[in-house]
Symmetry: D2
Subunit: 472 residues, 4 copies
């Protein structure tokens, strides 16, 4: 069994507490790493603070080379890395490969953005007191960042914290999900070979208690968390003076209007609904279809759902596989059963087998059902009819969440209405809410989050402006 | 008869050669000013060069106050100024008032933009030679600008040269059209009362020969011309080392698609076609309508054309009045007759009475007819049927000109196609090409021009970047 | 005695609890208003929420006109308003007039910025999944903002919350300091006459308990607080999901280097140290002077301090007057006495008379003394010798605060070192840290704050981005 | 002898007229290519126009990949390519390698900038006519670009036309200097292997007559020329409606002030003066030194000049070698002799040997001497004393040229004065005017040029804005 040392302040280390890593499809422990605690965390913090000044003053081209080298190495080892990712997360290879590709792209964009950090040069003499003065506004690294990543994109969502940190000149400690620590430890091996100052980056699979120190420790200047809403919002309360960025969940909606290209809508929704068993923050959870095209859409969508290929995540043609663990599969099963008991109708699927939950389509749901109101994080989608476009927009908005939404339409007026009225961070026209490219601003309104990621935006969040008012 | 002195290097002056100003509606000379020649031009140039350094170093808030004061004065005297503008140009009061309003707005935006002149602050260390360096890019005034304005918007098109010049910190000499010098001389009176350094602004109704010196004199760093294509392009050849900006003519097209709101399209086209007798660079000259809605559109459009109220430009309810002079009216008449003789059909209008030409709609035209191929600068519009959206776009593009185009559609796909394919500087959705607000980038492709106006853009054109590479 | 009604949801109202307003110089109550509680707050919140949609959709030129009208009215009534401000705050007229001027300027800039709200237009096809797509990023108003303003700039620091709120399209409830509610109630009268939708703005002199609701109420989306660090940081913990912006205190330092222009440094420091009795967040509290020029500087600075004219704030030649209340004067007295007892030497001043505290210069201080370590918010300055430039910078940094710093030098290397190393939000070269113009980014590091004001920046903080991903 | 086919419309071809390539150090023809004429030019133009639409619509990531591949290939073959460049141009290997490195960097930056083409998203409703509208401003490729490159940086100055063309989505025909066509033909081999649409790029060593067609042919939309002022300015006159960008010569000045770091100044000036025998547009031609440090500077500078190592450009330790041809060496000799005859004093060097001209320092010059007034394009520098900083700035400005200037100072006031007053495109503090990194805006004022290169800036120049005004 492969043993991964953790990465503490620039050194690969063991601890006394082994952490086994399970393959959710085979149910076997296939690798081992070490659980980190307060000792390792403090070591990492001190190493980070020691590296802070060197990071802050790293010339741009050095940061660029480091980030580009990481990007290139990820690409060069994509099959190998995707294999590990597939095993720890149960994510089918096609999607695991996509994630490695995106992580490489995320580092590449960070490399480019490190040359273009925010700066301004402004006149000061808008009133008499400013005569003879001008201002330079430069953004400086915020300092030590703590990143907390979830299991569902164990590599790329961690990279969305690490890459901007390096680009900004920060130092960072990354806590991966306990179930999926290997991708980021593989990344640590790649990063360790670059010229990144040792200590600037650590990967610590922390236990709960020391994980909490990431939230409360005053030496940490920023907390960047991707995970569940409950934990995220609680962290904001406990974070003291530090800055907090939260990427939380959602129950993303899609609206298929009368003028939509139906085949396009169906194909996009199939991926958005079931990719990685719906364990995606912007997974398609609620589909609303104009009544005039509902039947046609439903028929095609059910048909497509039927054809999904189940299998081992490590097989290249597998489209759907196990969920991350049985507890989650059982939770989804319960929610679906509850919905059915309260009057919803299952159009397709609905059954569980161990860690596997079938792709499932439900209709006749009510808003307060868990399958609608909460984040399902499973391969389940609700499909409902709407009378007109505006009603559809209202339905999507009738949620505590607001991450992204998809709208299929060719009407300019509809597009504008959707953009103006949808209470989400991203409105995707003629595609699913699941659409994300790594340079776009990404993040949610309402309970879905606080702040934005996407390289330019996450770099901005990780920096602090300073103005120099100087004579002209 | 009111006599206007010309404004030479900060002084109001007479010359030996009187210049009479004619009201094209009454055919009477109602005011007089003076023709300027080489002597006045050289005096203005020398005064401008003497004021150059003071202008360059004017604090921002001083420029702001000057520009805002001009804006406020224009607004405060709008009825009076519109009256003069109406008389010298034959422009109906409703449009003359609009022009004063826009000139005030143009100065207001210039005031605001003077605080936001282009500047950049960039890292230099993208490679090793740049280590320890950073760059400040500041835009400096280009120097002496020559502005040449046409008769059709005698105030606001002059202001589009003057206001950016002041905002940028330049000095400027403005040559109005010989037929419409009064608006800018009234403006000179307003400007003279501000703190603008004397000499920084002159208004010279130059004769042809000395006008040509504006093109060839090396002391002038930039020539900003609004007028006819022939003269504009010739100037570019003769301008030596100076920068040239050309705002020339067009034969703007409109496409009314199947998904268009027809009433909106008709109402917008009525204004775009006939306002100020079509003597507008972005006047609607060619209307293409989808065959399925052509008849409906034609009917409503003819009906609307019939209702236009002809009268004295100084009457507040006049909608259409005389053209600038009889020569132009005769030219339009000839082109319309020629078209008819070559097979075109006149749906409405087509007759001339002195300086007045009726609002006219022609169909069954051919591309090579003057009414299609050249800029008509009269109240004449061609109205043709198209098979589909793409054909309509091709028809609009089949022209030597490319200023703006209007497209009436609710289809997102159509909008995108139009934006990508139309060979113009501005694509206006659900409005006529005649749409212009003074802060938007405005200017043409192909034979229609060179460079862009609109405050931010014209200021940018009137400035020269300089980089300071300094240690970090 | 003049009675001011409070401004609740667009209506001027009385409550059952009178609130008397005291003139700290005369010690007399000269006006009265009403204390607001939960009832008024809930009324204001509901009115605000009712106005939210109208505010969000206000056309730009409407917002511009409203903001410009407010700016013009403030200017037109500056003497009157400054008189009230001087009375409620004890601020000398020269500074009170300056504050009205700045508030007018703040609204003017907000008017301009309302036209230039942040927006981006970006390509999406950086990888294959983005082919055929592009992104529009528009910033939308965040919703209901709660602003809390302090006594020391009762008008302009409130305006730094109100003006960006209107520019952004938000609705806002403003809580003035209990001792200085009149300036903002006068502002409410001005705003009430504009076209701002009723309910979009309220001014509530809240009691402590209902004031706390501003922090905890979930309907409020953002809390913008200017005040003391203790209260500010506590609010951040209790703010739930809302965004928090904190403008807190400091103990700003000045470094006078060998190459400094000493006369300039002295004159600037006199104003920075004593204006409004040092009751300014960026008041000069700690002056460090290079040992080679220390004696010369000290002599001139003491001399200048002696000449300050004490008097009634309403007299136009008064330079220094009463502090806000006797408690604060006593607090300053205690700190100064403590310092003296612990070995510091008072070079000038040091005495209290009722609410008046003399301009005071102390030397031989130690870092842990309150006069150094805490925010004195009084007319007291420490003056110390440093060996070289770098030491001086370290001294300034040796503080829990980091708002702004002033550096007097002609050395490029020194300037760069200061900008890179000073842990503050603003480094002011050849001027005091007290320098602030209203469009620059303003805010502190460390315990001095969280986020930035200055129109463009505060507007940005009050908005939420949304991306539209659309077909090309 | 190696034979290079020329690259016409995506095909490598021979013509009937051989063109021999000479090594200026060995005086031997070491390679051969073919002279292109009207036939090849028209073929290239037609192929370019045929590829135009595909180039315009290339997805961003495709352009990125093409540009990055070119960059990588240049780096991977740097020794080989530098060897060819050294032979055709006589440039010492150390500098030839630097040029390959920079060309790779230029393509890399172009790759990055292709993702960040200029775009704007603006509100339109600043006045009532804009209600309900907003604007998208997108920059489109200008079309067919003609690039003309000089012999002195045969690769990188060509790349400054080619790389932005590809990034912008343009098609381009490149005319290399007749003496140095091989670098760009090697580049063509690299580009031909990428996915760049065939026809989008051609390299034609044109004869004079067909070269002139690049200026006059209307199908070409932009002419980007780097070369001599005489030819450049003449081209501007003959270019018809096309856009023209001119990068011309200079006689760059350096000012060494009293507060300068002298060793730094000397070392930088040695490279700036003699690198590639001064055949560089921003070569240090005129050095002005404050009288108090003149003697010290002069001594060190002469000493450094003496140590320069002469040799074969292909040797890695060669610092100075032959000039491009004997005609140019004779021209430089004549100018130096003339100066001596008119009273100037040669402090070092002054002799010619075939194509080699010694590094030469002259003092006591007069402004009208060719060595001062014209661009020497040889290893000759004038060294003069100045009384104070302002005089030094005036001396540098007393020239028909204005490309870049270097200023050695630690005074903030001096730096600001230099930036404000120097009539050049770039002011380089504590470095020579020869400083250029490829992403900075580069170009001259006065007779030195028209427009700016540097990727972001040259891309901007090669694009045309179009605004879409759409409903909100």
């Amino acid at each position: 069994m492969n043993i991964y040392d953790i990465y503490v302040g620039g050194k690969f280390k063991k601890t006394k507490i082994p952490l086994l890593v399970n393959n959710p499809f085979t149910h076997k422990n296939f690798a081992q790493t070490w659980q980190a605690g307060t000792t390792e965390l403090n070591e990492a913090i001190e190493a980070a603070l020691a590296a802070e000044n060197e990071m802050k003053n790293l010339p741009t081209f050095k940061k660029f080379e480091i980030l580009r080298q990481i990007s290139d190495e990820l690409k060069a080892n994509n099959e190998y890395l995707a294999g590990i990712l597939a095993q720890e997360s149960g994510k089918p290879m096609r999607y695991a490969l996509g994630e490695i590709e995106r992580a490489a792209q995320t580092f590449l964009i960070a490399a480019e953005e490190s040359k273009r950090l925010p700066r301004e040069y402004v006149s000061m003499d808008w009133t008499a007191p400013g005569i003879g003065k001008e201002g330079l506004i430069k953004y400086f690294p915020i300092g030590l960042v703590a990143g907390i990543a979830p299991f569902n994109f164990p590599l790329n969502l961690a990279v969305h914290k690490i890459a901007p940190a390096i680009a900004a000149g920060n130092v960072i400690i990354l806590k991966p999900a306990r179930s999926t620590p290997l991708s980021t430890l593989e990344l640590a091996k790649i990063i360790d070979k670059t010229d990144l100052p040792k200590g600037a980056f650590s990967v610590l699979p922390l236990d709960r208690e020391s994980g909490n120190q990431l939230v409360t420790d005053d030496r940490i200047k920023m907390l960047s968390f991707t995970g569940s809403p409950e934990i995220g919002w609680q962290m904001k309360q406990q974070a003291g003076r530090k800055k907090v960025l939260l990427e939380l969940g959602g129950n993303a909606g899609v609206l298929v209007s009368e003028s939509a290209n139906l085949d396009l809508a169906v194909n996009k929704c199939l991926v958005g609904s079931y990719a990685y068993s719906g364990q995606v923050c912007i997974h398609v959870q609620r589909i609303y279809v104009h009544e005039n095209v509902f039947d046609k859409f439903a028929e095609k969508f059910i048909e497509g759902t039927k054809k999904l290929k189940y299998g081992d995540p490590q097989d290249s043609d597998t489209e759907i596989s196990s969920m991350i663990d049985e507890n989650n599969a059982i939770r989804v099963e319960t929610w679906v059963n509850d919905a059915e008991n309260e009057g919803a109708k299952i159009l397709y699927g609905g059954k569980r087998n161990g860690t596997y939950f079938e792709p499932t389509i439900i209709t006749n749901t009510k808003k307060q059902m868990n399958v609608c109101a909460l984040e399902i994080f499973g391969p389940v989608v609700t499909l409902e009819k709407v009378k007109n476009f505006k009603t559809g927009i209202s339905e999507i908005n009738d949620s505590q969440f607001g991450l992204q939404a998809g709208v299929f339409t060719d009407s300019l007026e509809n597009m504008n209405y959707a953009f103006n009225e949808l209470e989400v961070g991203g409105v995707i026209i003629n595609d699913v809410p699941t659409f994300r490219v790594d340079h776009m601003p990404y993040g949610g309104l309402k309970n879905s989050g606080f702040g934005r990621e996407g390289l330019k935006y996450s770099i901005f969040e990780q920096m602090e402006p300073k103005i120099l008012v100087k004579p002209i």
